[in-house]
Structure formats: C-alpha cells, structure tokens
C-alpha cells in the first residue's frame, strides 16, 4: 500500500463533540461556579482570565466485578510490600473505591458569567420612552444610481446588460449611465440603557470584610447589567453622615470617620438621577450596601426616600453585610426597612463572601421575570 497525507475524515469532529461535552458540563458546573464568585482573584485578573473548574465526570456504568479482587503488576518490590492508599478510580482499575472521575474544565470569564447569570433576572421593565430610543444600524447592502462609492461588479453587470440589449453581450465602453453605487440602508435598532447607582456606607464601622463582600457584590451586579443593557452607566455614592459621589477606586478604598446617616446617600442618589438620568430615558437601579448601622432617627426619612426612588426606579435593593452570629438587632437598618413594609424594595443579607451568590439571587430573582412573562 502507500502512505498518504489524508484521512478522508473531517478534522473538526473531535472538537465538535468536545463542545457538546462542554455544553453538558455547563449544566452541572453552576453550583461550583457559584461557590467561586466570592474569590477575589476571579475578578481581578481581567477578562482574559481562565477559570479552572473541577468537574465530576459522569460515570460509565456497566456490569463489573466487585472491587476487592486482586490483580497483577510489574516491577520491583518485595512480597508484602504495599502502596499508599490509592485514590478511587473506575472499578476494575487499580485503586479500590469506585470513586469519582474528576477532571478540569477551563472557562473564560465570559462563559462563567453566561452560566451564572442564566439564573438571575430583572424585574419587569417599566414602560418608558427609553425603549423608543433608537440608533440607526447602517448596512451597505443596497445599490443606487448616485453615491460616493462605485460598485464595480454592479456597474459591469449594468454595462453588460446594456451592451446585450444593443446586440453584443460584452463588457466595454462604460458610460455614466452604467455607473452603480453602493448604498446603505438604515435599520432602526432599539437601544436600551440603564444606570446603576451603587451606594455604600464608607464610615469606620465598615470593616475590610464588609467592603470585600460589597465590592464583589457590585462587581457581579455590574457585570450582570452589562449583559442586560447595551449601555450601562454606574454611579458610586459613598456616605457617612453625609454623602458624596466617588469614582470607582475611591468608592472601594476610601475610609471616612463620622457617623452614619443613610438618608443622605438616598437623597444624593435621587438628585443625581433627576439631573443626569431622567427616568423617561433610563432604566434606573438603586442599590445600597451597609453593615446595617444607621442613626435610628434617620430611618423614617430613609424609608420615605426609598418610596420616592421606587416611583421611578425598576428596582431598589439593599444588601446588609453583617455577621449572622449577631442575629437580628432592632437597631438595624434592614429591620427598620422590613418593618416599614416598602413594596418593591428587595432586602438581602450576607455574612461573608460565600453568601454573595444567594444575595445576588435574592435581589435579581428570576421568578419575578418568569411571572412577568406569564402575566
């Protein structure tokens, strides 16, 4: 016979089946990913970061002998000499427990988000004019008799047609009449935009742990919004007993002394929203994280402001970060907000970074969307 450089096989079948495997695995790795979102290094390395996820392989069941049978091996070693305890493998292989087949799946951040965010949702959008805001999507896929860009192919065809009509089907003698131009069509595209107003207590009572949880919560929140809207703007508002707008870096690093008046933040947020993000054009999301401290006399004012926000915002969410060990305290902001029974306000709790996912799930509950769709 001979040696030939071919296989008569399509070269991409292995890769295609590998992709089907990935899709299958995706469905089962959500749990693992959710436990990982509290890890700082996922979000600091940037979008090219690859995340390794250990996956339990689906077993290949078949009838096999009970483990515990011996076997043969090769090499040096005295009779009576043994190995260290073997990790489990498939039965029938050396090793004893029919254990899990573990392997790693490598995902980029984009894939991670896609899997995670499939479980999150946004409350039903309020009808607003922003949805009528359109951008023009321009495509050069038309031919015209005037224009700046000559379409050579269309021009030659026109020339050929004209010559053919005259009796000689050939190309040549191009006249002004033959010239054709590329033209474009404009397709109106709905454009959606959202503003996320992130508020955080930056007073001394917020420790490193609280800020860490807050930072991760806001990171995933903003990533989530970026997938929902074509345009997302983020506003950072820090507060002690007074509120100030900060840039992202300041927001997460600044430490202020002073008391705590939560209402100051809600008030500043309201004026920023009214000035720069009119509800007629923007989907407004107002979020607040704190350790729950607030001056008790400030709570009624805060509740009133939350109600005012809810008149224009799609969602007002509050995440209280406090050790669960302390239990509910009457002085807590969450206790006051819950007691006020504000319709549409979503309150979540997290005591450490392992609870960020459940907080995200509470605030961006998918059920709300499902109901809205069903309604």
């Amino acid at each position: 016979m001979a040696v030939v450089r071919d296989s008569v096989l399509p070269a991409d079948r292995g890769r295609r089946d590998a992709r089907h495997h990935h899709e299958r695995v995706r469905r089962q790795i959500g749990d693992h990913l959710r436990s990982k979102i509290g890890e700082e290094d996922i979000i600091t390395a940037g979008p090219e970061k690859r995340i390794r996820v250990p996956v339990r392989g689906e077993r290949r069941y078949r009838f096999v002998h009970d483990r515990g049978q011996g076997g043969v091996g090769q090499g040096e070693g005295e009779v009576g000499q043994g190995t260290a305890p073997q990790p489990g493998g498939e039965p029938g292989e050396p090793g004893t427990e029919p254990g899990e087949v573990m392997y790693e799946v490598v995902l980029d951040l984009d894939e991670v988000e896609e899997i995670l965010f499939a479980e999150l949702g946004l409350p039903r959008l309020k009808p607003r004019r922003s949805l009528e805001v359109t951008s023009e999507d321009v495509r050069f896929d038309d031919i015209a008799r005037v224009g700046p860009l000559v379409d050579k192919k269309a021009t030659l065809r026109q020339n050929l047609l004209r010559n053919a009509k005259a009796g000689a089907a050939r190309v040549g003698g191009i006249e002004k009449d033959d010239l054709r131009y590329r033209s474009y069509r404009e397709t109106p595209q709905p454009r959606t935009q959202a503003v996320v107003i992130c508020m955080m207590d930056v007073s001394g009572s917020m420790g490193a742990r609280e800020k860490h949880v807050s930072r991760l919560f806001y990171y995933w929140t903003v990533q989530f919004f970026r997938r929902q809207y074509t345009r997302v703007e983020v506003v950072f508002v820090g507060h002690t007993s007074e509120a100030f707008e900060l840039d992202e870096h300041e927001f997460f690093t600044r430490k202020e002394s002073g008391g705590t008046l939560v209402s100051s933040a809600y008030r500043l947020a309201q004026s920023i929203q009214r000035d720069r993000y009119p509800a007629s054009a923007w989907n407004v999301y107002v979020l607040h994280t704190s350790d729950g401290d607030n001056l008790a006399t400030d709570n009624p004012g805060t509740v009133a402001l939350v109600r005012e926000h809810l008149e224009v915002a799609n969602l007002v969410g509050y995440l209280e970060i406090a050790s669960s060990g302390l239990g509910p305290r009457p002085g807590r902001l969450s206790t006051a907000l819950e007691a006020a029974g504000v319709d549409g306000l979503v309150i979540a709790h997290a005591s450490d970074d392992r609870e960020i996912w459940s907080a995200l799930k509470t605030i961006f509950a998918r059920d709300g969307v499902a109901e809205a769709v069903a309604a």
Binding site: M1, A2, V3, V4, R5, D6, S7, V8, L9, A11, D12, R13, G14, R15, R16, D17, A18, H20, H21, H22, E23, R24, G57, R59, R60, Y61, R62, F63, V64, H65, D66, R67, G68, Q69, G70, G71, V72, G73, Q74, G75, E76, G77, E78, V79, G80, Q81, G82, T83, A84, P85, Q86, P91, G92, E93, P94, G95, T96, E97, P98, Y103
Partner: protein, 487 residues
C-alpha cells in the same frame, strides 16, 4: 490498538509521505524476510486532531457523542502539554487503515509502521478475527449519518442519553457472539421428509417441541440469554424505530471491539515483537538506534499494579522464540516443537489459534514472570485502599491474571426471565463464581437497562459475604439493593 509513549522526542520534521512510503517498503521487506505476510495497510499521515478523533471514537467516522468529545479533549490536552502522545492506531478492515501522527520523528514513524504490520498479521491470521467484517467502515459511517438524523429529529440530548443506555449494556455480551445475528433457536414440530419411516423419532421430536412451547409459556427466554442488547432490541415494548436502530448500531460496533478485548496481550505482544524484530535487522546509526531504544523502552515500561500488555506480550513472544530455538530439557519435554528452530512458524500458530486466556494458561511460565517482573497483588486486609504484593510465584500470578482477562475481565450477566413475576419485568442472573458485582455499578447499569426495557429490571448476584443479593431498578426512581426477591 494504541501505542502511547511519553513525549519529549527529538524531531526531524523535514520528511514527506514519499519518505514514509520508503520506510513502509523497508518494513515490508524485512517482515517478509522474517517470514511474516502482513495484509495490505493504508497509512494516513494526519494531524493530531484526526489521530485523537479516531482514537477517542475507536473507529474512524463513528457517530457523534459527547463522551467521545470528552476523551478527545483529555487526550488532546495531554498531547498539547507534552504529557503523552498516541503513536498509532490500526483499524481491522481490508485494507487495514493506520494513522501516523504528523510531526513525529522519522524513527518513531519507522517503529510505528513496523508495529502496525505486527497488528495486521494478527488481524489476518487469528481465528478470533475470522468472522470480522473487513468492509465494516461504510456501515459505521452510514450509522453515524442515521444517528445525526435522529438527533435533528428528536434532539441531541435524547439520542445521546439513549446511546448511553445502550453502551452500559454493550459489554454485557458473550465474546463468542461475534458475527452472529440475534435469533432464538427453537425446536420445530414441522413435518419432515422421512417422518413416516421413523415414527418414533418424529413423535419424540414433536413431544420435545410441545414441552418447549409449554416451558416458553412459563418462562421466556427458554435458555438464559447473554446477548442483552440483542434481546432488548427484539423484545422490548414501546421502543421507537430509531431506538431499535440505535441499539443495533451499538451492538454491532461492540462486536467489532470484542475480539480485540480477547486478544489484547497477543496483539500488543506480536506488534511489539515485530517492531523489535524489524528494527533490529536494520542498520540504524547510533543516534537513531538510541532513539528507537528509548521509544521501545517507554512503550514497554512495566506498570506497577497493572498489566502492560506490550511488555508481557513481548516477553511471551520472545520466550516462544527462544523455546523454538534454544529450549532447556523441561521445555523440550513439554512442547514437541521446542528446539525445532521454526520460531516464526510457532509464533504464527499461536496467533492463529490462541486468545489471551489460552496464551497465558500455556505460556506464562516462571521464566516469563521473571523476565516481566510480574507479581500478584491483593487489597490490604486492614485498609482496602492499600494494594499489597502478595506473590511472585508463577502459579499465583497466572491465576490472578486469568481472573482479570477471562471473558475480557467482565462478569457474565444473563437474562433468565422476560416476564418476571408475571409483570413483564426483566430478571437477570449474574453467574457469580465466587465474586459478586460492584453494587454501585450494577445498580447504575440496571437503571440504564430499565429505561431500555420500559419496565423494572432485577439482577441476582452475591454480596461480599457470599449471601444472595438482588439489584433492582425501575425506569424512573432510584435503584435499590434487595436481600429477598418477591416472585
């Protein structure tokens, strides 16, 4: 058949298919000089994507399934990271197809071509491959196309899960089944030509048929049926046409692999013996010789606590060669061909008539055990996760090895009643012979079978303490272990 070698070779990438054609000619010339007549082999020089695609499927052009993608990716990752690489793959067809990995060194290609010729000789000479259909590949491709079509009709996941159900039962098939189509044999009471001359015999035959029919009324199948997939394909109710077709595809493709399971040591032993015999006849320069020795050593390196068929098979074939040429007195007494000098003739006779069980029973001598540094191991009585070398005696090594390769090392589980307890449940029996089934895997397998059968299925076996045990699974719900069986 695959030959995996740790990577890290030097490469000489400046060769083309014409060079490889020359290598093939050289190998064929030397094979013929040795007295071997390999059948034609078509060699394909292909990139890693193709090699690993074929390796993950086991057959070129086989149907699409995520499990193949999973092993493709694992092998490809190991290759990309330089952890290991597959050097060759041979498919038993006529001509045989073999795949050469583009980018391997020329010495590696030479070794692989010689190795493949050894496999081809086994395919050609062994009676275990006689029933194999040498024109199998077009059917494999046609099956892949039908499965693609089913996927677009009923959904990929539905078909993949169904294939999984079938694959779980695919190995539960007697190896001797090769080439037979599934059918039940029944006595017949149809009149025959000379009945009038032999009235007694005719009456006895009719009586037997009556009895069988009566027994059938009580129990079906009449005899225990080891071809589980064949039985299910024919008798399960509520299967769609495409499902019956998929069962048939999985069953038929498994029949291609079965004789290879049965002859793994013979195959790799012969292929390794052949590449060594051929390369030692060539006058390699010292650098190439070192490279060849390194590759060979890495293929045949001993595996602790498992068997390397390349190593053990090669050791046995070298012993056959030596016994034919320079036997000791005991060997002269034991084998009449010993000392006859016809090493190749004896090797070919072994290939023709032996499977691994016969080979090990007769030729795993104390000398082979020493050569291959074989030992038997057991689980530590105190901590079963520890493995302990229990013996280096040939007798015990042989017993231990045979237990792992009889019936391909797989338990025999047969269908004994297709209407268990009158509820249409499937009753299977494990022919335990002292060792039970792995409970977890038995239950998982039965869950697959229950989905195929459409009704609950039960299998009897023995527990670790020797008491009877039954595993039961229903099409929906968790499988269970029972200590008594209602009937």
């Amino acid at each position: 058949m695959t030959l995996a070698v740790q990577a890290g070779l030097w490469r000489r990438p400046d060769y083309d298919v014409a060079d490889l054609g020359e290598l093939e000619d050289i190998c064929l010339r030397e094979a013929h000089a040795l007295g071997l007549a390999p059948p034609p082999v078509a060699f394909h020089l292909v990139p890693a994507e193709v090699v690993y695609d074929v390796a993950s499927r086991g057959l070129p052009g086989r149907y699409s399934h995520w499990r193949f993608g999973q092993s493709y990716e694992q092998m490809k990752n190991d290759y990309d990271r330089g952890r290991s690489r597959i050097y060759e793959l041979v498919v038993n067809t006529r001509p045989a197809h073999a795949y050469l990995l583009d980018g391997n060194s020329l010495v590696a290609q030479l070794l692989v071509i010689a190795h493949v010729l050894g496999h081809a000789v086994v395919f050609e000479e062994s009676r275990y491959f006689e029933p194999a259909d040498k024109g199998f590949l077009p059917r494999v491709r046609a099956a892949a196309e039908r499965i693609d079509a089913y996927m677009s009709e009923v959904g990929r996941t539905v078909v993949e899960d169904f294939v999984d159900d079938c694959q779980a039962l695919a190995t539960a098939m007697p190896l001797a089944q090769l080439g037979k189509t599934y059918e039940e044999e029944l006595s017949t009471d149809a009149p025959r030509r000379f009945d009038e001359l032999f009235p007694d015999e005719a009456a006895a035959r009719r009586r037997r048929a009556d009895e069988e029919r009566e027994a059938m009324r009580r129990r079906f199948p009449r005899n225990p049926e080891a071809d589980v997939l064949g039985f299910v394909m024919k008798h399960a109710r509520g299967l769609e046409d495409w499902q019956r077709d998929v069962i048939g595809i999985v069953r038929e493709e498994q029949l291609y692999f079965s004789p290879q399971l049965q002859t793994k040591i013979i195959h790799e032993g012969m292929a390794t013996w052949t590449h060594n015999a051929i390369l030692q006849r060539l006058l390699l320069d010292s650098a190439d010789f070192v490279e060849y020795q390194r590759l060979n050593a890495s293929v045949t390196q001993p595996h602790p606590f498992s068997l390397n068929p390349y190593n053990v098979g090669w050791a046995i074939f070298r012993e056959l060669e030596r016994i034919a040429e320079r036997p000791d007195d005991d060997e002269r007494e034991r084998w009449e061909w010993a000392g006859g000098g016809d090493a190749i003739g004896q090797i070919l006779r072994v290939i023709e008539g032996y499977d691994d069980v016969a080979l090990v029973s007769e030729f795993l001598t104390p000398k082979v055990c020493q050569l291959a540094k074989l030992y038997a191991w057991e689980h530590d009585a105190r901590d079963a996760r520890r493995l302990v070398i229990s013996s280096r005696e040939a007798e015990e090594v042989r017993t231990s090895l045979l237990a792992g390769i009889v019936n391909g090392g797989l338990p025999t589980v047969e269908i004994v009643d297709a209407d268990h307890a009158g509820r249409g449940e499937l009753l299977l029996a494990h022919r335990a012979e002292g060792v039970g089934l792995d409970a977890e895997y038995a239950k998982g397998t039965l869950a697959h079978l229950a989905r195929l059968w459409g009704k609950p299925v039960v299998a009897s076996s023995v527990a670790g303490d020797g008491s009877p045990v039954w595993y039961r699974a229903a099409p929906d719900g968790a499988p269970e272990t029972l200590t008594t069986l209602d009937s």
